[in-house]
Subunit: 147 residues, 4 copies
């Protein structure tokens, strides 16, 4: 993608940012790896993410996709805490496995001056078929606000 | 709407269903009222719904919209725990007020045999301008599974 | 809505803008009226909008919703030809009547400095039940570019 | 994907279906190839697809994505003319090149009994960066109606 740029943060720096800025939820997630197109992010599924019947709740999958695109954007523009989601959509495709973590594969499709767009495939760890597909748009603050 | 039908459940029955089927989250929400088009639902904003800077988190707003359409559908077809979200989209319009509950105004737009569609406006309690707009589609199980 | 402002263009001015800037499609549409929340727009359904079976095509409904939000935005900020759609979503709820025009009821939900968001209900003329629901986001050019 | 199946139609059969069922628009599109995940579809950009400034119109891109997922679904389930779009969303990422065709890369993510979901990347022919991203859901008629 012509406007995509190389990461400015390492996986370690991204993980530290997550712990520092989102202490309430950082323990739920593990940054698996930075990828050429974005990032792979794991939701460490625990009791609090489940719904009756043992499936992972919709809001938990939404949170995974939302954080995934956020981290993918930050890894490219640096640790700017101010980017905000303006639009998100998610299709729930199959029931996730309750006993397995969820893995999100995030792909940045646009990284413009004002807006960034990414899409996400979510799978139960070890399974080929996606359980959800999502797309999110982030509004990026003007450059003078960036760290 | 020609395929919309009168509620089959009272507000009290809907609240009892919520408490029974979703004990993990029922305390976060209050059913304000059944409306001719759907339902009004309140998120009782607490510390765990907030993000740094004091704003309500995106996943919390998603959860409110998702549950709102679910309850609107159930109020019309009866207490079927098996309806599942197939698609959801949300636009975040303004920063919610941290000190105020969120109110979701849910409107059913379609209640078909297989699919139900609703949209949602979310406002900070007492404010006119919406903080989010959402739409959700639910897949409804075949009639033989209904209560 | 606190950031919504009174129209800057009359219905007549908006219709002239449409004819001047979009001569290819202006004949398909009629501006019914400016409303406190946005605009009502009519698609004058003709043979070229139909699909086999006599229903109005999805792209025709998309075009109606897209133009509707565009005109609602312009009516409030003035005739800026440069606003561009960044995101659009549409739910197809029922089959439209082939013999009837489509009426779009457009509601502006946000009119910010950079982004405008609107939603749309589309009905077959004279029918109560909506045939489609849409939401669109427009990116608004910086103020120095505005007319 | 575990529920994806091998194509039941050849590229030639799919092209003939398109010509037969959608004579109004078939000339605008070329089926490039069936792929393991779906289909690649070309919009042969002509004057009628353009907007002022020489860019391809949003409704034209919507039509490309919509038809692309439709053909991907049909290629796997056989020539069922009755599948209908229930939900579609599109992000417009960059301005397409007016002088170039658009190529849609369609990927089926779910092919269930009732619903099929696909996503689409659209590029100007020969360019790496996508100009649009879309996702669509199709409702599939009950099996007794299938050819």
């Amino acid at each position: 993608m012509d406007d995509l740029i190389a990461p400015k943060m390492s996986e370690q720096e991204l993980a530290e940012f997550l712990t520092r800025e989102f202490p309430q939820v950082a323990g739920d997630f593990t940054i698996e790896r930075l990828t050429p197109q974005g990032v792979d992010l794991r939701l460490r599924v625990a009791e609090r993410h489940l719904r009756p019947g043992g499936t992972v709740s919709g809001p938990s999958m939404f949170a995974l996709a939302d954080l995934g695109v956020y981290l993918a954007v930050l890894s490219r523009i640096g640790p700017v805490a101010l980017a905000v989601t303006t639009n998100a959509a998610i299709d729930f495709l199959r029931k996730p496995e309750a006993e397995r973590d969820l893995l999100a594969e995030v792909r940045l499709l646009k990284l413009g001056r004002n807006l960034a767009v990414g899409d996400v495939l979510v799978r139960s760890d070890g399974m080929a078929a996606p359980v959800a597909r999502a797309n999110l748009t982030y509004s990026i603050p003007p450059r003078r606000d960036r760290g």
